[in-house]
Amino acid sequence: MARATRFWPGPWAEAEALLEDVMLVAALLVVMLAFAAQALRARRLLYSALWLAGASALLATIVYQLGAPEVAVIELSVGAGLVTVLFVFAINIAGEETYAGPPLVPLWAGGTAVLAVLVLLGALTQPMAGPAASQANAEGSFAEVLWQARGLDVLVQMVLIFAGVLGLLGLLAESGAPLDQPVARAVAAERQRDLQALERIAAEVKPRDEVHV
């Protein structure tokens, strides 16, 4: 866990640093939740993508404060960077229509389901309140764990990245065949006109040639 260093260490310095860390993370959590809620409430989809990017950046900061810098870097670059670009790109293609009206699920049923899930998860995470497991020393570095202990995960990630590239090609693909596009049609029509003009010229020239022969 990243702790702030003090120039004048005293008996209360450690407790003060811990309190500052707790307050900082708590404030970041509240702001991140507000950003996430705004991402769903914003009227325009473009604003939704920007609120989501802000939530990603705040999540990266929180994760860094908790002592996971590698995850923070990846979350910041992928979550706040790449995914935002993808959202903006997709919104640009698909348009920004908004749909008013009641949701598919009734409000009382959805609210009850969300509350039930949260209560259940809260009850399930109660066993975590016990003492921390003493397996910290058995771990190697992040690279060792990622490439050796979790090597299969890395292979799955590679397969997923290829699937993602194919998905991106689907995002970029046009709906019609190439010749159905307006520019292609215009070029084809111009070529057809040129061909017909050449045929007319050839038809005018041929009889004279035959007369001469």
């Binding site: 769903l40 929180i62 992928v78 993808l86 009206g101 899930v117 910290a136 997923l160 991106l168």
Partner: protein, 103 residues
């Protein structure tokens, strides 16, 4: 979880899950559903880091969180590609309209 910091983070995870589930249930726009999925996965990433911090196995938690982030990005790419193609072919992104379609 005796550390108050981890308790706050646990509440943050639950809050993010609540916001994500709310978005999944009540959004009608297909792209906004992908946004809700992203929020849910952020909760999962934070939960992995919280569990690693609580159990003292942070490197394992980081490795799993990285895998989740990669999978989440691919899900976003596929979901957005699907939304774009649905918009092109059917002319709408409203889940209510799409649920009425018969093949």
């Amino acid at each position: 979880m005796n550390d108050p910091l981890l308790t706050y983070v646990l509440f943050g995870v639950l809050g993010l899950l609540g916001v994500g589930f709310y978005g999944l249930l009540f959004s009608r726009h297909l792209i906004r559903l992908v946004v809700a999925l992203q929020i849910l996965v952020k909760a999962a990433v934070l939960a992995f880091v919280l569990a690693g911090s609580a159990s003292g196995r942070m490197q394992l938690a980081q490795s799993l969180a990285v895998t989740v982030i990669v999978a989440d990005t691919i899900v976003a790419v596929i979901g957005l590609a699907l939304a774009v193609q649905v918009r092109r072919h059917l002319g709408t992104l409203d889940v209510r309209d799409l649920s009425r379609l018969r093949g």
